[in-house]
């Protein structure tokens, strides 16, 4: 009987604790100012992306598939000898790989005859600067076995690689490598494992779940609050997980988007740039407001999820894009996080 055998290739988001450097290294930090410290110093300021590149202007149907879907994030090391001209070949090879895995008993659904069609295509608009390689989209569809002739194809899994303003990584690698450090997947985890395995084997790269720290989430909260959105119907929501309790407890803090934007507008000084100090002041205001009302110190809890009208992000490395005009901006930040996880 066919069952599910795990394909152990992806590291969990909690991998951090298991890949510690030696005790000696860990206890010595790096002094203030070094660029790539042991603990990955977060930047003291970030530039907001230049005029948003709107995908909707060029390919409306493309942008639609990205929005309002939950994407699981991974960082990917540079791909060796990847050629954007061979996408058709890659689709065939991946298809054969999936069929072979199925033969071995790694059926993703028990007892159902599966015919998976693989499509690999390029997303030329999915980049930041001209130096970035174009995004790559992989889609898995199920062909219904009933009638092969006029078969309906149902999209069951999508995954895409991209690099938005990833110069920090690409400048350090040779020509043989293609830098697409951010990978986003939507669909069953088992398909993600299989596709990931094939890429890892074929291009000698490594996928790791991209976790988002509370510090990075607070940056996102501040950055996205500042974005001008036409219909501000959705409230800004922050979810906190309370530590050190015998039972799990989450606190959800909803803020009216106009209030949040008004607060942020009084804090941000230089248009086009955000500093760590401004993010701190923004979050501190929200925390003290909450403390005044509920006598609970949110700064002692862990920020796990941020939802705004632009996008929502979860610390386990899950993102949902809600506005196509700010897609580039969000991807730029995620690319940066992926690159620092790789390095």
């Amino acid at each position: 009987a066919a069952g599910l055998r795990p394909v152990p290739v992806m590291e969990s988001a909690d991998g951090a604790a298991r890949t510690l450097p030696s005790l000696g290294q860990l206890s010595r930090g790096r002094p203030f100012g070094r660029a790539h410290g042991l603990f990955g110093l977060s930047p003291s300021s970030r530039l907001l992306p230049p005029a948003p590149r709107s995908l909707e202007n060029t390919e409306p149907q493309r942008a639609a598939f990205l929005l309002r879907k939950q994407w699981t994030l991974y960082s990917v090391t540079p791909l060796y000898r990847f050629s954007p001209a061979r996408l058709g070949d890659y689709a065939r090879l991946l298809s054969a790989f999936i069929a072979a895995e199925k033969q071995k008993g790694l059926a993703v659904e028990v007892g159902v005859e599966l015919d998976i069609k693989v499509a690999v295509s390029s997303l030329p608009d999915l980049k930041g600067s001209d130096q970035d390689p174009a995004g790559i989209l992989v889609q898995l569809s199920l062909r219904s076995p009933a009638s092969r002739k006029n078969s309906e194809e149902k999209l069951v899994w999508s995954g895409w690689f991209c690099c938005v303003f990833g110069d920090d990584l690409s400048k350090n690698v040779t020509e043989d490598f293609t830098c697409l450090p951010l990978f986003l997947a939507n669909g069953a985890e088992s398909y993600t494992s299989i596709v990931g395995s094939w890429f890892q084997k074929t291009f000698d790269c490594c996928f790791r779940r991209l976790a988002i720290s509370p510090l990075s989430l607070s940056w996102m909260a501040a950055m996205w609050t500042g974005c001008k959105v036409d219909k501000t119907t959705s409230a800004m929501e922050l979810v906190f997980s309370v530590p050190c309790l015998p039972y799990p407890l989450d606190i959800s803090y909803a803020i009216h988007p106009e209030d949040a934007k008004a607060l942020w507008d009084t804090i941000q000084k230089t248009p086009g740039e955000i500093t760590q100090e401004e993010v701190n002041v923004f979050m501190d205001c929200l925390y003290s407001h909450f403390h005044r009302h509920f006598k609970i110190r949110l700064s002692a809890t862990k920020l796990v999820k941020v939802s705004t009208a632009v996008a929502s992000a979860h610390c386990d490395g899950i993102i949902k894009f809600l506005q196509s005009q700010y897609l580039t901006g969000v991807l730029m930040l995620l690319t940066e996080l992926a690159i620092s996880q790789i390095q």
């Binding site: 988001a13 909690d14 951090a16 604790a17 510690l20 005790l23 860990l26 206890s27 010595r28 930090g29 002094p31 203030f32 100012g33 410290g37 603990f39 990955g40 110093l41 977060s42 003291s44 976790a211 988002i212 720290s213 509370p214 510090l215 607070s218 530590p243 760590q276 701190n280 979050m283 110190r297 700064s299 002692a300 809890t301 862990k302 920020l303 610390c315």
Partner: protein, 131 residues
């Protein structure tokens, strides 16, 4: 002696032994712990900062849970001229090693190690951190 914040309650002043070393603990997972330390520092007499204060940053094994920006911690060490130590309390080996380090520092600060004063040791630690 453990305290959650400073100043220490004045009622027990007369019963308290001399304090040789103050270790400010910052949990990287809690922004509040940094704020608490910053507020408590204001209550420490200036003479302590001649080698009798150090910052201990815990939770560094899980940078994914980081709620505190490292720049702020480094700046604290610089501003107060005191060493910053890192540890991960969830690892037994590191817990023991850190405890041994603190104990050694305490011995020096209490004057039990001949030839090494708290001040000279403090500047030694700062210089080695710049390597």
């Amino acid at each position: 002696h453990l305290a959650t914040s400073l100043p220490l309650p004045s009622e027990r002043d007369h019963l308290r032994p001399r304090i040789d070393l103050i270790v400010f603990m910052i949990d990287i997972k809690s922004k509040y712990s940094l704020k608490n330390v910053e507020a408590s520092l204001a209550h420490v007499d200036a003479s302590f900062f001649l080698g009798k204060v150090c910052f201990l940053v815990s939770g560094v094994g899980r940078m994914n849970y980081c709620s505190v920006e490292m720049n702020a911690i480094w700046k604290l060490g610089e501003v107060y001229g005191s060493p910053v130590l890192f540890c991960e309390l969830e690892l037994e080996g590191m817990r023991v090693a850190t405890a041994q380090r603190l104990l050694r520092m305490l011995q020096i600060c209490a004057g039990h190690v001949p030839g090494v004063s708290a001040l000279s040791f403090g500047s030694l630690m700062r210089n080695s951190a710049d390597d």
